[in-house]
């Protein structure tokens, strides 16, 4: 499968994060593993780049975060758990609509995709 990377992926990262959080709350690493699993190994992104995207989404009020109350029997730093907000759900729905329109228009122009 041709890897999806760089700006091609970065432009959709926010929507992809919102989509992964639709499945339930998750911390950064878990969000990444969900993205990786859903992308079937085709998504190529430096993993640290996930966090600036998360912080931007949080600032926009699309996701909310809280510190894990306990370290679940493990030692080490605490995890920050993210969840989708109502505003984030609306944004995700809008992003899906825009994506369908994009695929429909561009697919029609390029041909072969319906």
């Amino acid at each position: 499968m041709t890897p999806i990377e760089g700006e091609q992926l970065r432009g959709h990262l926010s929507s992809l994060i919102l989509a992964t959080l639709e499945a339930g709350t998750a911390h950064g690493w878990e969000i990444w593993t969900r993205l990786e699993a859903a992308g079937d190994g085709a998504l190529r992104l430096k993993e640290g780049s996930l966090y600036p995207a998360l912080y931007r989404l949080e600032q926009e009020g699309l996701i909310a975060a809280r510190w894990e109350s306990q370290t679940s029997g493990r030692r080490g730093p605490r995890r920050r758990i993210y969840r989708l907000t109502r505003k984030g759900r609306r944004r995700l729905a809008a992003a899906r609509g825009e994506w369908r329109q994009f695929v429909s228009v561009i697919g029609g122009l390029l041909g072969g995709v319906t």
Partner: protein, 270 residues
């Protein structure tokens, strides 16, 4: 693993952001990097350095990540954390990465005492020149000079002594983690003793200062009810300050004290 923390520190330390925000970033990035490293360790069970290099490579270039993270810091916060040029020399009085507490205390105490002594000498000269004739019989000038003189002598002890006590408190408190039975009780007991000593130091400093002040203004203070009230309040007020200091020691041990090369190069995977 210290290499992971160093990588996180390479990314976060130069950021212009509040320490609260930076600490949050540090914790989150470290969790992710730790998981990443564990995954690579499982893939390279016999080659720890390859696992580390691949994990760092996958995580991203520190300079690029730093730029992305910096863009998420609000403009106001960036402005508030701008380096102030004329405060540059003040950095000499902050603890340098890799410096031991004792070295730091020794270095800064010498500087602080010299500066204080200079101020005291200027004050003596001022008194000698301008106040001698006008207030020849006034004991208050001498009292104030004594007050400042004692402060100059006590300054290193009273400023940096608490830092040592804070560090000892934190280390003993840390020891309780993983310790069991009597060792745990002993570590917690020692931490409590160091914390109490810290409060006594704050109280004692206030008492000494007030006593000298009362001599300077010739007011019988020691037997005064308010004297002891103020001393007790000062001791108690030292508690939050001491806890803040202990937190600073904790942050120092985990992050700020790490010696990192400022280059953003990622080691090549073997």
């Amino acid at each position: 693993m210290i290499e992971l923390r160093k990588q996180v520190e390479r990314i976060v330390r130069p950021l212009r952001a509040s320490s609260h925000r930076k600490n949050r970033m540090r914790e989150e990035l470290l969790v992710h990097l730790g998981e990443l490293y564990e995954q690579e360790r499982a893939a390279h069970p016999d080659n720890e350095s390859a696992a580390l290099a691949t994990a760092l490579e996958r995580f991203g270039d520190p300079a690029a990540l730093r730029a992305e993270l910096q863009a998420t810091v609000p403009a106001v916060e960036r402005g508030l954390t701008l380096p102030i040029p004329f405060l540059g020399p003040m950095k000499r009085f902050t603890r340098q990465p890799g410096e031991t507490t004792l070295d730091f205390i020794r270095r800064t105490a010498v500087w602080a005492t010299l500066i204080n002594a200079l101020v005291w000498l200027l004050f003596v000269l001022f008194c000698a020149t301008f106040l001698r004739q006008a207030r020849a019989n006034d004991a208050s000038s001498g009292g104030i000079l004594t007050l400042i003189g004692v402060y100059v002598v006590m300054f290193p002890l009273l400023t940096y002594g608490p830092q040592l006590l804070c560090e000892r408190t934190w280390f003993e408190w840390q020891k309780r983690v993983g310790a069991v039975g009597a060792a745990r009780t002993r570590a917690m007991g020692r931490a409590a003793v160091f914390l109490s000593a810290l409060l006594v130091v704050y109280g004692a400093f206030t008492a000494l200062f007030l006593m000298l002040l009362s001599r300077a203004i010739t007011y019988p203070l020691v037997n005064n009810f308010w004297f002891w009230t103020i001393v007790l309040i000062a001791g108690a007020a030292g508690l939050p300050f001491g806890l803040l200091q202990i937190r600073a020691v904790q942050s120092w041990e985990r992050w700020d004290g790490l010696v990192i090369d400022e280059s953003s190069r990622v080691p090549r995977a073997a």
